[in-house]
Amino acid sequence: MTTISRRAVLKASAWSAAAAYMARVGIIDSASAQPAPKPGGGLVYAVTSPNNRLGDATNGLHPHNWIDLANRTCYNALVWVDENLELQPELATSWEADDGQEVWEVDLREGVEFHDGSEMTSKDVVSSFEFHRTETSFARQIASVEAIGNHKVRFRLTEGNSEFPYILAEYHCMIMPAAEPDKIGLSGIGTGPFKPVGFDPRRSIKMVANERYWRTGHPYLETLEVVNRGGQMEGAVNGFLSGQFDAVTNIDPGFVRQFQGRDDTSIVYASGGDQALMILPKYDGSPFNDKRVRQAIAAAIDRDRIARIVYGSDGGWVGNDTPLASSDPNFLAYPYKYDTERARALLAEAGYPDGITLPTFYFAPYWPEIPRIFQVMSEMLREAGITMPIEERPNDGYRQWRVEDAEGTRKHRFAYGPVGIRNPGISLYRMRPDNNESGYWSGESAERYMELYAKALVTGDPSARREIYHEMQEIAFEDAPAILPVGRRNILIHKSNIAGLDNHPQAWSIRFDEVHRL
């Protein structure tokens, strides 16, 4: 038996504490507090949900057209949203807004070089955002961007937005070397840990380590290759099983079982992922105009049971009927218990003492488990006297079919919609009255909700903002404009001889800086 002396234990503890302190204050990276990973080797990973606007031979390396949106392989943004959905500086070192949250000044990291050796300055940031503000949905709020010296920029927004740094972290908003808007980004030159050496715009990109990377000592891998297997889950899994791929991102829960218990495979769950939205359309004659009917549906859904049945013990999370994810620090747990008696009472109060038959509910298998969620939910609602016929539609053209509205009546379908994980501001904004996803929610509660949203936009203090978001969620709990019962946790698999490959609730924010071979 090996014995360890007290002195050795104390020495090790002291060193660990010192290393942890240095990592916390930024003297060393947290990774370097551990034994240093061995540099070298390569990683080939397949992505099953790629960019839906892939480019061509001329523009396939542009961050907007980057094959899998996880374009932090090649590029960096000013800010990064970490695995816990917290903001972290990337090419920016700090940021500050005026009182109205309308003017933002951002300090840039000095000494950062692009792949070609040129220095990144405010000129590049301005040029990049001149492009993004016309081409990126989330960046259209930028009215102007200007340089203040070499390493500082100022953004003026069309209106205050206290969560603007999240926009700076968006996967489209990467920093590219300055160029005219029609030329910028085409070269594939970024500041990221890898630089492209070959690509097929719709199939794969091959990269090698960027020796000028600003995070000294990173990346560990010498080569990285991303292969598009969008919509071809079987192909990606076959490639993994045959040894062609070292990792596959965004695996469906149904595929995971075959990898459980395998020594050569690691399964990595993110803290969150997309959630399933049940839109309750409110139009003349809709049963969902009555709040009590909506509340009855909410009460008749056992969220925990759905998550357990559909996702098992690890793959899912329970929602709270708002587009916020449970991994978001602002998330409030859903306060009501599953209660069929309460549901029946609410229905009786609403004039349906014998139960209610809802219009047909439509969904498309955006994710393979979506049909199962609503099959289980339909059975569950029956226990409370709610009959909900369900019908599956093809993915292709589903959204357009769901919202088609030739007569302009907003009489959209009672249907499913996918909701991705974003910052709380954008997420909660999805329940705005003029959005189909809220079912065109209206009334006093909706008005109060939007007043609070407007207040949050100009509230710079995060804890004060959190209070506002809590109140918004409480309004949604009470008024039930929509139902968001469960979500998935993103899953990736990789070979056991790979380490440092963390999963992320926003699949596009995965970083490969720390990945190494064992």
Partner: protein, 322 residues
Amino acid sequence: MFAAIARRISLSFLILILVSLFVFLATEVLPGDALDVSLTDDDLAVLTPEQLAEMRAELGLDRPAAVRYLSWLSGALVGDFGNTIITRAPVADIIMGPLRNSILLALATTAVAIPVAHFIGILAAYWRDRAPDTIVSTSAIVGYSIPEFVSGNALILIFAIWLPIFPATIVLYTDGPILEMLAVSILPVATIVIGSIAYLSRLLRLGLVEALVSDYVERARLAGVSEWRVVFTHAVPASLVPTLNAAALYVAGLLSGIVVVEKVFAYPGLGLELINAVLKREVPVVQATVFLGAVGVLLMNLLADLSIIALDPRVRRSAGRG
């Protein structure tokens, strides 16, 4: 004869225009357009209807359908298939690589399938209703009945996962070297060949069985011609004529892309390109791909007709009179 060929070419031209119109109308009735598909639900959640209308106008998607079709047709007639809607890339650049790969896959498959199918068909026909025929016919029915996604995945399981000899999925670039593309295409070719041999060998067997009991074969035998010569110089050529049209259609089908096989193996061909283009509502790419497929079918049919004229004196005389 030349008048007949000219008539055939004119008719083909008309068919091409009708096909392009039909494809355009089919894509028009699909819900959504290229802009809708290029945006994520998250994008759509923050964009206003006015912003979407502005973006649609920038891409020319607000123009009437008839204007967009005629604009495409006028270009296509002079070989210009236009640009993609979202990225404005020339369609010709997008489809050239996949077209090359589909032709490669078709040629490789044909080079294997036709000789093997002939050999098997001849065996079955010569020993009709005996053991070789029973084995060949039964195997053919089984081979023909197995969907390609099943046979493809079975081959992947055996030869890529259990015995890691061939790649399970093709990761080569679309413009990868031809020899490398052929090297990684063994499983896709084998998958298509399994179904093709079954189909073609049964077709050939049927023609050859009829030829082997015909009067001229009987006369050749009575004249003392060796059995080997009877089969290969009298019966086989005669049996080819009725199968030419079917074989031409088969090859044309390969040219237009074995969609399922390309999907299973991620083979970078025209079929896979077509699926992606339909999903992304890239109508110019869909149009060009289907257009090329239709050209392939018509060309192969024309080739089959010309071959029949060349091989069959009765048809030649009839065409000459007409």
